[in-house]
């Protein structure tokens, strides 16, 4: 705009002026209000009846740490089972075979339709229905097999699979029909095209809700405390039953849940970046 056109002759030349950014005074006001509220909250908790030294002491207690390990392992195990079942159910639901479709729909209906806590209690008490499981010489007492850990894994994993199947199905539906056709045209069977062509593309759509589900699962494992599974909340409760430091131990458990979830979030971002290859925003 150095060369003004004849019609602009009357307008002032602003090319040398300084640009002043917009002042966000409302933002600063909001920051001030939040800071005051936060300070009040911290002060209230500092003066409240919380013995913070107990929090520090129990944060790394043996029982809490083993509970944390159990929580993490159970989350991973149940989620792995859930993903495996979810993929299977989604592939069955999208298959041309009406029997498989029906089975997949029935599975989702049954396990989404009942509370997880009820399913956990059912698995844990399976011995009441089947005192032994197995065939002939190969059989065991159900109470020996259905430990709290096994019951929790089955209860949480199978329930998760019902939800994950819908996430997987949404992912498969998000892939263009032309991709299925192109895969067929180079001689792929349905299974190979799902594995090589469809799922790698569906991952972009699948991972954000799946990360959500994983975070949900970490907290859902706390329900397994009702069937005596020794996860972190269960162990924290056992300690406060003995020493009555209820709030302190709940804070300890809360801190660890937050730590685990905070570690997961960047992991999800890395996965998303990997599966975004070939798209804008990817490599």
């Amino acid at each position: 705009m150095t060369q003004a056109s004849p019609s602009q002759a009357a307008l002032p030349d602003i090319s040398g002026y300084t640009v002043v950014p917009q002042r966000h005074w409302k933002r600063w006001l909001a920051v001030a209000v939040i800071a005051v509220l936060l300070a009040g909250l911290v002060r209230a908790f500092a003066q409240g009846q919380i013995e913070w030294r107990y929090v520090g002491q129990f944060l790394t207690a043996q029982s809490i740490l083993s509970g944390l390990v159990n929580t993490v392992l159970m989350s991973i195990g149940a989620m792995a089972l859930g993903i495996a079942l979810g993929i299977t159910a989604a592939v069955m639901r999208m298959s041309p075979n009406p029997v498989l479709q029906g089975v997949a729909m029935g599975y989702a209906w049954l396990f989404r339709g009942t509370p997880v806590i009820l399913q956990l209690l059912l698995w844990f008490n399976l011995a009441l229905v089947f005192p032994t499981i197995g065939f002939g010489d190969w059989s065991w007492r159900t109470v020996d097999v259905m430990t709290p850990a096994v019951a929790a894994l089955l209860g949480l994993g199978i329930n998760q699979g019902a939800y994950t199947s819908e996430v997987m199905r949404a992912g498969m539906l998000s892939v263009d029909q032309g991709q299925y056709e192109a895969a067929k045209a180079i001689g792929m069977t349905r299974m190979m095209s799902l594995r090589r062509i469809v799922f790698p593309q569906a991952m972009r759509v699948i991972i954000p809700p799946l990360g959500n589900e994983f975070i949900g699962m970490i907290k859902l494992t706390s329900l397994a405390s009702v069937i005596q599974f020794a996860e972190i909340l269960h162990n924290a409760q056992n300690i406060y039953y003995a020493n009555s430091r209820v709030i302190e131990l709940l804070i300890v458990a809360g801190i660890w849940y937050l730590v685990v979830v905070s570690i997961l979030t960047p992991g999800q971002m890395l996965l998303e970046r990997h599966f975004a290859r070939g798209t804008q925003g990817g490599r």
């Binding site: 991709q179 045209a185 180079i186 001689g187 792929m188 069977t189 070939g278 798209t279 990817g282």
Partner: protein, 260 residues
């Protein structure tokens, strides 16, 4: 008519019918294509030309009639006087005889150009990777894209994507290439490069069935032109016959509508 004296046709379509719900898309189509022949199918949208092409490699299952590719009945096994529907694996194997190029390219977006091309030979045909990669690079050079081997489809223009798609189909070493309106989704300035790749392919002796609106390409390259309307073949002959002096009134009406 170099193809007429060549004996058994490579593709033989006999009395094929196809319905989509209540819509009768193909009404008894019969057609032979000989090895080395380039056939262009023209017609208005909805005339059934794309459906016919998709029936040949079984992306669409026919209701009645028969399609033979290289002497093999597609989709069915003959036992006495009964036809048994083939299992999916067998149909996938039969599709290896044909390569297909789509209107919307349908490259795999999560793979580079090279990975797109080697996917079928390596995963489906289970051929040694090193050999396939060398062939794929040669194919990319043939369509003028040797420098784009490691580019993802999103980084390629439409014309480049379609040329990669042609290379991907050729990598399977098909006996027959099917083109479904390969230039219809392209910006006008990119049509030429794709047609040039197709002309080169035709000159190399590949058998091609091309559904197209490019009458110039049909006139220049096609051994035979077929005009379809309302699910039937209206007229068929050399490019000069069908495009130059059409006998049927419907063909004349279509051509004058397209050329005006």
């Amino acid at each position: 008519m170099k193809a007429a004296e060549m004996g058994r046709p490579l593709v033989s379509i006999a009395g094929v019918h196809k319905h989509f719900g209540s819509f009768h898309a193909l009404k008894g189509v019969s057609l032979d294509v000989h090895a080395g022949e380039v056939m262009c199918i023209i017609g208005a949208s909805g005339s059934g030309k794309t459906t016919l092409l998709r029936c040949i490699n079984q992306l669409v299952e026919i209701d009645r009639g028969a399609i033979w590719v290289d002497g093999e009945l597609t989709g069915y096994r003959i036992e006495g006087t009964r036809l048994h529907r083939l299992p999916e694996k067998e149909i996938a194997r039969q599709r290896l005889a044909t390569g297909m190029v789509f209107q919307r390219f349908n490259l795999f977006p999560h793979m580079t150009a090279l990975e797109n091309i080697i996917e079928g030979p390596v995963r489906v045909q289970r051929r040694p990777r090193a050999e396939v990669v060398a062939e794929a690079r040669a194919l990319l050079a043939r369509v003028g894209l040797e420098s784009k081997a490691d580019a993802y489809p999103a980084a390629l223009s439409g014309g480049q994507q379609q040329r990669v798609a042609i290379a991907r189909a050729l990598a399977m070493k098909p006996k027959l290439m099917l083109f479904d309106e390969p230039t219809s989704a392209l910006d006008p300035e990119l049509v030429g490069e794709v047609l040039a790749a197709m002309k080169e392919l035709a000159a190399s002796g590949m058998t091609m069935i091309v559904v197209t609106h490019e009458l110039g390409f049909a006139r220049e390259v096609a051994d035979r032109v077929v005009y379809m309307d309302a699910g039937m073949i209206v007229e068929s002959g050399t490019a000069a016959e069908v495009l130059g002096s059409p006998k049927e009134a419907r063909t004349r009406a279509f051509l004058s509508a397209v050329l005006s």
